[in-house]
Each structure stands twice: as C-alpha cells, then as structure tokens.
C-alpha cells in the first residue's frame, strides 16, 4: 500500500478538497472528505512527469486527483509512453551538457559545411531557365523605381565592352543565358550587379571609373563568377534555411526581444554573402588569366573605388556592397603573380 496525499477536483465546481489516494497492486482508493471510491489502476490516466511539476490523475468518474510529483507515480502505467524517456533525459545534467554539445556542433557544422554543400548540390539541379523570370522582374523593378536610367555611354564605348564580355563567357557552361545591360545610376554609383538568370548590369559610373578595358573586364568576370556559381539561388536557399533554423532555436526568446532573433540571423547571412564575394573573386581571377587579362586590374580598380568611396560616393557604392577591400586586393595581386593556367571549368 502506498498513500499519496493531494487534492480532489470533481469537475463540477472549481473547489479544492483535500484528498488521499491509496495504491495497492491492482487498485487505487480515493478518499476525499466523505467520498471514498475504488478504481482499477489501469483505468487511471496519469499525466507525464515534467521536471518537478505536480501530477494530475484523471479518474473514471470524471474527477481529478492532483498531487505533488512523487517517484511512486512513475511505476504506475502512464498516459504517454514516449514522454517517460524524455523526462528521464531532462532530469540529468550530463545529458543536458551533451545536448549543448550536440546542438551547438550540429548548428555550427551545418552552417559552415552542411548547408553550403547541400545548397550547391540542390542548385545544380535547378535549371537556369527557372531563374530567368526573376532576373527580368528584378531589372524592371529597379528600372521602375528609378534606380536605373538609360545609359549615356556612346555606341563606340559599349561595343568593345560587349565584345570583351562575350569573349569572357563564350566557353562557360551557362553561356546561353548571359545578357549585358548598361544603365546609368546616381543611386548605385559605380557598380555592377549580377541578377538571377544571367543578366549582368554595369553602370556608366563604373565604366567611367575604370582606367582601362582590362579593369572593366575584371568587374564583369567577377559578376560572371556570381552567375556561374549560382550565387543568387544559393543565397536564397541558404538564407531561408538559416532563417528557419534561427526561428526554431530562438522561438522561446522571440517574444522577449526582437534583437535576439534578428541579430544572429543577420550576422550569419552576412558571412555567407562575404563568402560568395570571395568565391566570385577567385573565379574571376582564374577566368581573367585564362583569357589573357591580369587579375592585377581588379586590384587597381578596387583601390581606386576605395579612394573614391572616401570622397562620399553615396550609400550604395560598389565598395559598400563588396567589403574587405584590402584582403581582396591582396588576393588579386597574388593571383596576378601566379603563372598557372588552370582552365576554368
């Protein structure tokens, strides 16, 4: 016989009656005031254990017996079979420590290796055509917003750039999708961008900043790198998974403070975009060398842009969306010195 003290609730009024329950092998006897009832233990429903919270026993008569948590109740058949083992795990500090290790290492490994690798694989299966409407929409949206105005460059300036551009991409896997657009833009300043689906936009301001054709080709090669490596799709995929994972991990804290959920997500996504820039640079250096240009042109252009940027180039200048100039310049110079001719895939 085991006796458990608690309270009885009849379910007809929220009134609390002191009660006790005596458990024998097969039966349980409830005594609450003048009431005394006997039940088969198999007819009782016992709520799962969670930490030190009280337990609720639902009785066949519709009443409820509530009591403090006690070890004995775990030996009686439980309402939920799955939750017993979970409760067991939750009670142990060494399990909690192991869980910290598992959670953090899974998140970090997924973030640094798993997700980029998975995204690269998935993106390889998405046809380039699927991206094209996106790029067109994006371009017409930016045109409509007034970010872009028609180009002021004359025909004689554009033709050699166009020819050089064709020369850059003509052996590449996505060669059928490239389109070069000239725009003038006060908002974006000297800039070049790769839109989804192979559209590459270069601003008049960028062409004017460039000192030579080689420098223009360096910028275009960088953007070609974004297209060939499918960075738009990858960033959409990776950023949404990062967003979903952050939401899952911080769901309890989201209502406490907006910054808690927003900040790590922003940092995580910034890192990916820097990686994309570095990867596009790397791709561009190899492409330039293969086509007989020097990656040093990229370095000199970046340096000139950085200098200009200090003289107030506007918030959206190329340099602000392409950070870490020093490292990138150094990488370009190093690439220029290498005399290898590794062909670009």
């Amino acid at each position: 016989m085991t006796r458990v003290e608690g309270h009885y609730y009849d379910g007809l009024n929220p009134v609390c009656v002191s009660a006790g329950m005596d458990f024998s092998d097969q039966e349980a006897t409830l005594t609450a005031g003048a009431v005394s009832e006997r039940y088969a233990i198999s007819h009782l429903r016992i709520s799962p254990r969670i930490g030190s919270t009280g337990r609720f026993i639902t009785l066949p008569n519709g009443g409820q017996f509530a009591c403090a948590d006690c070890v004995f109740l775990d030996s009686v058949p439980q309402e939920s079979l799955l939750e017993g083992p979970v409760a067991w795990l939750e009670e142990r500090w060494y399990i909690a420590l192991a869980c910290i290790v598992i959670v953090y290492s899974t998140l970090l490994a997924g973030y640094f290796f798993g997700l980029p690798a998975a995204a690269t694989r998935i993106v390889a299966h998405i046809p380039m055509q699927a991206e094209q409407p996106l790029g067109k929409q994006a371009l017409s949206w930016m045109d409509g917003k007034g970010w872009f105005k028609p180009t002021n460059l004359d025909f004689d300036t554009r033709i050699p750039i166009r020819n050089g551009f064709e020369g850059l991409y003509k052996d590449l896997p996505s060669k059928d999708y490239y389109r070069l657009e000239f725009r003038s833009s006060k908002v974006l300043g000297p800039n070049a961008l790769a839109l989804p689906g192979g559209i590459i936009v270069i601003t008049d301001e960028m062409v004017k900043v460039a000192a030579s054709m080689e420098e223009v080709m360096a910028v275009l090669a960088h953007e070609i790198g974004h297209v060939e490596l499918r960075h738009t799709m990858r960033s959409v995929l990776q950023n949404s998974v990062v967003g979903a994972a952050t939401a899952m991990v911080t769901s309890d804290a989201a209502s406490l403070s907006v910054a808690v959920a927003g900040l790590p997500m922003l940092l995580a996504q910034t890192k990916y975009s820097r990686e994309f820039e570095a990867a596009a640079d790397d791709y561009a250096f190899r492409l330039l060398r293969q086509k007989g240009y020097s990656p040093a042109a990229f370095a000199s252009l970046m340096e000139r842009l950085a200098k200009k940027d200090k003289k107030q180039m506007g918030v959206f200048a190329y340099i602000s969306s392409h950070p870490m100039t020093k490292e990138r310049v150094a990488a370009a110079r190093a690439a220029a010195k290498e005399v290898s001719t590794t062909p670009v895939r």
């Binding site: 009656v17 639902t58 598992i102 804290a253 918030v315």
Partner: protein, 413 residues
C-alpha cells in the same frame, strides 16, 4: 459547512483549523490567540457553535514556481531532440514546455493544467509551414501568384485566429475544468477586417497604384495609412474584447470594459516617445556627424532603436495592465501592475544575457519574465468560486473520450 482559505481558495471542512497551504482559519486564528493568552484553554466553544459562514476569499494567490536550472535542462533536451528529428519533435517540445509553464503557475494553490496533445499541434505546424512555403515561393519565384496567395492568407486569417484561440482555451484547465472559446469565423472576420472595410481600402490602394497617377497613389495610400494609424487603438480594443468576451470558464463568460480611448492614449504616448527620442537624436547626429557621412545612418538608427524599445516596453506594460484590469470573469477580477521601467530593464538584461551566453540563457530569460508577470498580477475573488459550474463536457477526462475534430489544431508558436 466549509470555509474558504483566503490565501489559496481551498475549501476546508469547518473542523479543520489549518488550510493545507498553512493559513489558519481566521476564526480559529483569533481563538488560537485567545488560547495563547489564557494558556491551557481549548478553542472557544462559542465560536464553534456559531455556524461557520463561508468566508469570501478576497484574493486567489497567483504564483510562478518555475526554476531556470530545471527549465534549462528541459529546454536543451527538447531543442536537441527537435534538431535531430528535423523539427518533427517540436510539437512534443511545445507540449512539454507549456505543461511546465502551466503546472508551475499556481492559482489559489492549484496548478494550471495544459492538456494540448502533440499531434494536432504537429498538424497545425505542417499546415503553417506549407502556407509559409507557398508564400515564400510566390514572393521569390512566382510573383504572378503572390496576390492570390496573400488573398488566400487574408481569407484564412480569421479562421486561424478562431481555431488557435479555441484550441488554447479548450486545452487549458483549472481544477479539472477546461476553458472555452466560442468565437465564429464571421465574428472574427468582422473584428479583424472591421466589417470588411480594411480589404476594401487596400483594394482601392491597389487599383490606384495600377491605374492612377503618382499623386492619386500617394493620396490613396496616405489617407489609408492615416485611417489605419488613427483607428488602430479601436481595432485593438475590438480584438481584445472579442477574445475576452468569447472566452468562458465554468459557464461564465468574460467581460471586457476598456475603451478605445484608453488604448488610444497608450499608443499616442508611445508615438510621442519615439518622436521625443528620434528628433533630438536626429538633430544631434546631424550636428555631430553630418548627413553626408556614412556613419550618419548608424548614428541615427541606434537611438531610434532605443526609442523603439522604450516605446515597446511602454505599450506592453500599459496595454497589459489596461486589458487585465478591465477583464472580469464571473466573480474573478484581475489587477495587473506591470511597470514600464521594470519591463525595459527585463528586456535589456534578457537581450544582453542571451547574446553574451550565445543563447544558453534563453530559459533563464523566459523564467524570469514569467516570474515578473506572476508577481505583478493579482487575482481578486469577489464572490464564490462555486459560481463557476462545470459540466460533463468541461471535465478534463471528457477530452479523450470525444472524437477528435480534424480541424482541431494549433497554429500559435
């Protein structure tokens, strides 16, 4: 005859002098003092002869007993299992989290009980995830479909609201009696979209954007935005009123008496707070840094963000107090005394702690927020708890017996 314990609301037989929570019956208590004075005398026989009048308990004590250490283990184990099952376990995790929070909240000495089951929650989450995926795909890839997806979402929103409120009420119990929420779709539609005026205004804006000139678009959008901003407090009041007055416990419906004007005051002051922070800091940033410096936007945004947090704490504390202090449930009345500066301190320290611990202090932040909430809330009983009358249906045990409605699901986080 029974006497109600003033501290916990427990109804004790009159022969018991002490309630199980340790509080002495007032009559007995006086007698005890008397005994102490006179030495050996037992309980005054005259007081025993006096029929014990059931004492209306003036207050049901509300306490939160959760501990950050214990909750940390529960939290991390459930997070780990959720991660390893790619999110499927999250429904079980939610149930365990809510049970922990409910059961550690005692009202009149009795813990609240959460009865939600994982499967309906999982179902709700799958549907929500599908809806989000549809929205995501249409906003990123198939933009021509976006208006239809948003439209479908707008049509479904009142339904989602009603189902979630019903689920949460139905699976919350106190003393073996569950809560109820009986709001219907048309009412929720009416409350959310103000008799359909909101969609009409938005459609007018869209039509203006498509066919009108620049000035017409500006006018339509400006007027709509102004209408929304000014009427927002009244909208909020209708929403709270809807939730409170459609909720019931033990056959008694909630009543809500706050006015839109009171909500307006809160939002208006919060608006002034943002202005009071933004304008001087903007002027200061202009003076110190100058608008052409790229540091300018940061110098401007940081104080505005602080102003926003301050306004947020203000709105949370004042509207929380307003809602609870104007809510009555049968004989039960609430007194909420949230303070803006306490909430602000709580938000800031929570955020700092969470960031500094790389998220490990999230459970601590959750627990101390719950503790603060319970400390600042008082539940007054102006009558008898027996005014609440349960039925066979409201008993906790009845839930398992009935067939599960396929639309019974929970969408909330």
């Amino acid at each position: 005859m029974h006497w109600g314990c003033p501290k916990c609301g427990l109804l004790n037989p009159s022969e018991m002098a002490l309630c199980s929570c340790g509080t002495a019956h007032r009559r007995t208590f006086e007698a005890d003092e008397h005994t102490a004075e006179t030495g050996s005398r037992a309980v005054d026989p005259t007081s025993k002869a006096d029929p014990a009048i059931p004492m209306p308990s003036p207050e049901l004590s509300l306490e939160f007993h959760g501990s950050a250490r214990e909750y940390f283990r529960i939290w991390i184990v459930n997070k780990c299992l959720t991660l390893l099952t790619l999110g499927v376990f999250s429904a079980w995790a939610k149930v365990r989290r809510k049970r922990y929070m409910y059961s550690h909240t005692t009202l009149g000495g009795t813990p609240l009980q959460y009865l939600g089951q994982p499967i309906p929650i999982l179902k709700g989450r799958l549907i929500a995830a599908t809806a989000f995926l549809l929205y995501y795909l249409s906003s990123h890839f198939f933009t021509s479909l976006l208006p239809y997806v948003v439209g479908a979402g707008a049509v479904a929103a009142p339904w989602v609201m009603v189902r979630s409120a019903a689920f949460n009420a139905r699976y919350s119990a106190f003393r073996n009696m569950t809560f109820h929420f009986n709001g219907l779709y048309p009412d929720a539609f009416n409350v959310l979209y103000v008799w359909g005026v909101v969609p009409v205004l938005i459609v007018i804006c869209i039509v203006a954007a498509r066919f009108g000139g620049r000035s017409q678009v500006g006018f339509a959008v400006g007027v709509t935005a102004l209408i929304f901003m000014v009427s927002f407090p009244w909208w909020m009041k209708r929403l709270k009123k809807f939730i409170v007055e459609r909720s019931s416990y033990g056959g008694r419906k909630g009543a809500f008496s706050a006015t839109g004007g009171q909500f307006f005051k809160i939002y208006f002051i919060s608006f002034l707070i943002v202005l009071a922070v933004a304008i001087p800091s903007g002027a200061l940033a202009n003076y110190l840094v100058g608008p052409k410096n790229s540091f300018f936007s940061f110098a401007l945004l940081a104080p505005i963000y602080l102003g926003y947090v301050l306004a947020f704490a203000f709105v949370q504390s004042r509207s929380g107090n307003l809602v609870w202090n104007h809510t009555v449930l049968g004989p039960i009345r609430f007194q909420s005394a949230l303070r803006c500066r306490d909430l602000l301190r709580l938000y800031v320290t929570n955020a700092l702690g969470i960031v500094a611990s790389l998220g490990l202090l999230i459970p601590w932040a959750v627990i101390r927020t719950m503790k603060y909430r319970a400390e600042t809330m008082r539940v007054m009983l102006e009558g008898e708890l027996t005014e609440f009358e349960g039925s066979d249906l409201s008993m906790v045990g009845a839930l398992s017996a009935e067939t599960v409605d396929i639309f019974e699901m929970d969408f909330s986080l």
